[in-house]
């Protein structure tokens, strides 16, 4: 992992990892066959799969297929799976620290601290899965013989644009999953290595195939496809390049998506539950009583 793909002392050539897309539980190259080059740990050039609009299409249909099963899991069970992902990141913390160091250019200690914070944040959101109902649900007083109550349900397929840091990615992806949605995450070139490695952690965390899909590519190319896709129900634009946001918002308006957008977020502070609450739909039930 991360080491230079060169001959080591005993004459063995180390095996370099191919960074692929994660769609429907499988690691695939882009349908287009393209890849771009990023600088990985140790200054090594890394080939990363470069997703096309058809990869977005495939990811959305995989997510949509998985939506009924994932959103029907008990909140407790979803929390367990989010917690499992925290465990997986923890056990790969060395790899993630190297990637953070390479892609975000912070110090070594800061990189380690960011990985730890990301693990803690997955655990924090894992705890919210079975508590969010208590914030968003209510029993409503109505002037009639009805028991009237409201409760949150997942929005559906949510696309998130990945910020360029591990902590940022965690802060946008975890709340979407905690609310019971399925996700298609689109990472730009910066943050692509972290996103691709996160896919490997996700793949070993009991997330059912298709519930989390992770694409790496160029945001200017994919923003239009994602924002206008009518099979996507929600959009988190916080990780999108600022100059692309206006167009994405207009695309989202044309297809009536929930949009969450935060100007220039500081990912180090605790992000709260505003994202979880943004990606739920409140259903109100009028139940006749006293008849």
């Amino acid at each position: 992992m991360g080491s230079k793909p060169t001959s080591s002392g005993n004459g063995r050539l180390s095996v370099a990892k191919t960074r692929k897309l994660y769609i429907d539980g499988a690691f695939v190259r882009s349908e287009s066959g393209r890849s771009f080059v990023e600088t990985g740990p140790g200054g090594v050039a890394v080939n990363v799969a470069w997703a096309s609009r058809k990869d977005v299409r495939d990811a959305v249909s995989a997510a949509r297929r998985r939506l009924p099963a994932w959103s029907a899991l008990t909140a407790y069970n979803r929390g367990q799976i989010l917690y499992r992902l925290a465990e997986m990141i923890e056990s790969r913390s060395g790899e993630f620290a190297e990637l953070v160091l390479a892609q975000e250019g912070c110090g070594e200690a800061a990189a380690r601290a960011e990985v730890e914070a990301a693990v803690d944040r997955w655990v924090w959101y894992a705890g919210w899965t079975d508590k969010i109902g208590h914030l968003a649900a209510s029993v409503n007083p109505v002037a009639g013989p009805y028991f009237n109550f409201s409760l949150p349900e997942p929005t559906g397929v949510v696309a998130v644009f990945a910020p360029a840091s591990l902590l940022g990615i965690t802060s946008v992806l975890a709340p979407v999953m905690a609310a019971g949605n399925v996700a298609v995450m689109v990472a730009g070139e910066r943050g692509s290595l972290v996103a691709a490695s996160l896919a490997e952690a996700v793949a070993t965390s009991d997330f059912p195939a298709g519930s989390v899909n992770i694409l790496t590519g160029r945001q200017p190319e994919l923003a239009g496809t994602v924002s206008t896709h009518r099979g996507i129900d929600g959009l988190d634009l916080s990780g999108l390049l600022p100059e692309l946001r206006a167009e994405a918002e207009s695309g989202a308006a044309g297809s009536v998506k929930r949009v969450f957008s935060e100007g220039a977020p500081d990912w180090t502070g605790l992000p709260g539950v505003s994202r979880v609450l943004s990606f739920v739909e409140v259903k109100t039930v009028w139940h006749p009583i006293g008849i």
């Binding site: 977005v56 299409r57 949509r64 496809t225 206008t228 896709h229 009518r230 099979g231 044309g254 297809s255």
Partner: protein
């Protein structure tokens, strides 16, 4: 590779003779069993490897842009919108009929589909719902889907559907008799059902998933056509595997040979397991490469499907609007 596997040599000269003997619903059909079996066994064998590789090669054909829109709209016009469940309520049939007449509520230019396919007891309702529209009503009959009942019961089933106003009848062949080698019995039944249909078009379901070999599919296709079928249809949709590309290719080639020998045009209906627009376009490519141009029309080619229609609409949306469509924009039925 060009041509196909089953193309081989043209059908043996025995064909017109066989048509005369067995195609005219003659009362002596049962006695003719021996020569019918001989004729069917004398059909050139299907080269399985060649057939499958040709079907696979044609499936890679890429249809884009303007051609794709035309293919999608053609496929929409060829759909037999189907509901064949024990739970078919009158409301569900009404909704299906509404969808058949206006598949895309946001775009009246789309559709209508070719027909609605229901059980016989829902025919009168569907007929009333569709009155004044070009959408036909097809009824599955003859103890669908197994076909395991007395002939009298099957014929009564057909007559009830036709009396209720069915424009088309989808019958199933007796697969058990076919597999036991009683070809003449299968032919006789088809002939009886054809008579019971009167003016209604007869589609004969071969249920290819139960016929085991491509040679059997070819023989069953011939029996159906000799029996007077207006369409031959792959499957009931109740047995897996249902329609596959190689099976459809065998049937199309049989239709082509039959047309060459007799001049009669027999349609093909593929049904069961066709859920995506991509699948549908592959079948259209197959039709285009195998049969004369008249078959690229709903009068001679149909898709029996329910969920396929929505995928066709979603893909058409992508072509006309430039953005991917979503399933929530279209009614379920």
């Amino acid at each position: 590779m060009t041509g196909s596997a089953a193309q081989g040599s043209p059908s043996p000269p025995a064909v017109p003779e066989a048509s005369a003997a067995f195609g005219g619903h003659a009362p002596g059909v049962r006695e003719g069993g021996e020569s019918l079996a001989g004729f069917l066994r004398g059909l050139p064998g299907v080269d399985q490897t060649g057939l499958e590789s040709r079907a696979a090669a044609l499936a890679t054909r890429s249809v884009k842009a303007g051609s794709k829109i035309r293919a999608l709209e053609l496929a929409i016009s060829m759909v037999d919108l189907t509901t064949l469940e024990g739970s078919d309520t009158p409301g569900k049939v009404r909704a299906l009929c509404a969808k058949a007449m206006l598949p895309d509520a946001a775009d009246p230019a789309v559709g209508p589909v070719a027909a609605v396919c229901v059980y016989p007891d829902r025919v009168s309702l569907a007929k009333a719902e569709l009155s004044g529209s070009p959408v036909l009503v097809a009824a599955v009959a003859t103890a669908f889907p197994s076909g395991r009942s007395q002939l009298a019961v099957k014929l009564a089933d057909v007559e009830a559907a036709v009396t209720a106003g069915a424009d088309e009848v989808d019958m199933v062949i007796d697969r058990a008799a076919f597999l036991a080698g009683e070809y003449a019995h299968v032919l006789f039944e088809i002939g009886e059902v054809k008579k019971a249909c009167g003016g209604a078009h007869l589609k004969v379901i071969l249920e290819t998933g139960e016929l085991a070999t491509y040679d059997n599919v070819k023989r069953a296709s011939w029996i159906a056509m000799l029996g007077g079928a207006d369409f031959i249809k792959t499957s009931t949709g109740k047995v897996a595997p249902a329609s596959t590309l190689p099976v459809a290719l065998v049937m199309m080639e049989a239709v082509r040979e039959y047309h060459r020998e007799t001049g009669r045009l027999v349609g093909v209906k593929v049904a069961g397991g066709i859920r995506t627009a991509k699948d549908a376009i592959r079948y259209l490519v197959l039709v285009n490469e195998t049969l004369p141009a008249q078959w690229m029309d709903r009068s001679l080619f149909r898709f029996g499907a329910s969920s396929l229609l929505n995928d066709l609409l979603i893909q058409r949306y992508k072509q006309t609007h430039g953005a991917y469509g979503g399933p929530d924009d279209f009614s379920l039925e």
